[in-house]
Amino acid sequence: MSDKSTEVNFEFRQRLNKIIGGNHHNFCYQCGACVSLCPTAKYSTEFNPRTIMLMALLGLEDKLIAPDSIIWKCTNCYTCYERCPQDVRPVDVITALKNICVAEDRAPDIITRYSAGILDTGVSTPLSVAIAKRREKFGLPKFNITGYDEMKIILDREDSK
């Protein structure tokens, strides 16, 4: 490693600290307990929650904040959260890092595409004619989304992008 790459980017860490769950990265003492049963670490040699926490501690913004960043391979299984003796909640730190990716427009397309569906309709899966018919056939009540207007109002905030 060159000298430059070992300089800690504190500015990035400050930013991470402000996001829900992000500040817990500070508690990591690099023991590796989070790695042993991490499913993605088992299936991908590049993926390792301990090294992701190390990258966060060093503030390696360029590597972490990218649409092809290794963080997107996390399954969100919470095994690391369960194992960590320091309450780092690595999966939550990873989610906070993902939030920065989205804010910087550096997330995989699927994240914004999928979220747009919820923001536009209030549900994650569109109500198709075929499903409406199937529901009727099964004797199920009509599916109505009545909370959409309220959802729109509460998402409107001063600091939103």
């Binding site: 399954t75 369960e82 979220s115 004797g139 109002i153």
Partner: protein, 287 residues
């Protein structure tokens, strides 16, 4: 009649309504009255939507929680994703007063407030802790004989245990006990706690995980895979077709959602619990 508020989420009513049918019929047989006029939205989803913006995720979840809180009734989830979002949101809000205030500032715009008193549980946990095994036993009409059901817990029912408080995350017992109540034989297996992989954005890894789970299920000589989450259901039922294409492996192991199994034991027909709607048919395995 016990009153509860079901939180159906999006995936079950809008993709797998046959599972909703099975849940409704079995809950009716358990004398549960569903209170359903609450204007919920998506929970919202604990992976992609949460990755987009956690504050928005929390605000929407808090609104859903506040709705049930206003009625003073327990909220019953049927999807592990909804369970994860609603229970984690409750945990984060109760842990951090400042965050709760910020969220309530948003809810105030619609004259609502999240207080932190609402109870949320996955329906299977409710069966164990509130309804009780005796009540389930009383609803059984036709015990299922000779069916070996492999257990798949999925991640978000149990972990993180400091939020979920459901069972031992390493040696859980809940689903085995519930399968036993139906007469079927619960089968634990090597990979019963492995993730279905759905949250991982990768072309192969999720399918390698599910495929290994199927190998483990076969190794344990189970007839089918029992689970409690629509995302897991999709990964394992439709997922087998994708595994066939991507990994060139055919598993042919039918998948059953717990309330379908319970429905059968309550005397409902396979069609009444929607078993004919699955990609991998159950036919030939029952009876």
């Amino acid at each position: 009649m016990t009153q509860i508020v079901p939180f159906w989420g999006c995936m079950i009513p809008l993709r797998y309504p046959h599972i909703e049918m099975a849940i409704r019929k079995t809950l009716a047989n358990l004398q549960m009255e569903l209170v359903e006029d609450l204007p919920f939205t998506c929970c919202p989803d604990p992976i992609y939507f949460k990755a987009r913006d956690q504050f928005d995720w929390l605000v929407i979840a808090a609104r859903n929680l506040a709705l049930a809180e206003e009625r003073n009734l327990p909220l019953l989830t049927v999807c592990s994703g909804c369970t994860s979002t609603l229970k984690e949101a409750r945990f984060l809000l109760n842990e951090d007063e400042n965050l709760k205030d910020r969220v309530n500032t948003q809810l105030k715009k619609i004259n609502r407030e999240y207080k932190g008193t609402v109870n949320v549980e996955h329906a299977v946990v409710y069966l164990r802790d509130v309804l009780g095994y005796d009540a389930i036993q009383d609803s059984i009409q036709k015990r299922i004989e000779n069916l070996r059901v492999a257990i798949h817990y999925g991640c978000h029912l149990l972990k993180p245990s400091q939020i979920m408080h459901v069972d031992d995350a390493d040696y859980p017992q809940l689903l085995s006990d519930l399968v036993k109540m139906t007469g079927a034989i619960p089968v634990t297996h090597e990979e019963q706690l492995l993730c279905c992989g759905k949250g991982c954005i990768d072309d192969l890894i999720p399918y390698e995980m599910t495929s290994d789970i199927f190998d483990s299920v076969k190794e344990a000589k189970a007839d089918c895979l029992g689970l409690i989450c629509p995302t897991c259901f999709s990964s394992f039922d439709l997922g087998q077709k994708i595994i066939e294409r991507k990994l060139n492996k055919k598993h042919e192991i039918p998948v059953i959602y717990y309330f379908q199994l319970l429905g059968l034991a309550q005397g409902l027909s396979p069609e009444e619990v929607g078993l004919d709607q699955h990609k991998i048919p159950m036919k030939g395995i029952l009876d």
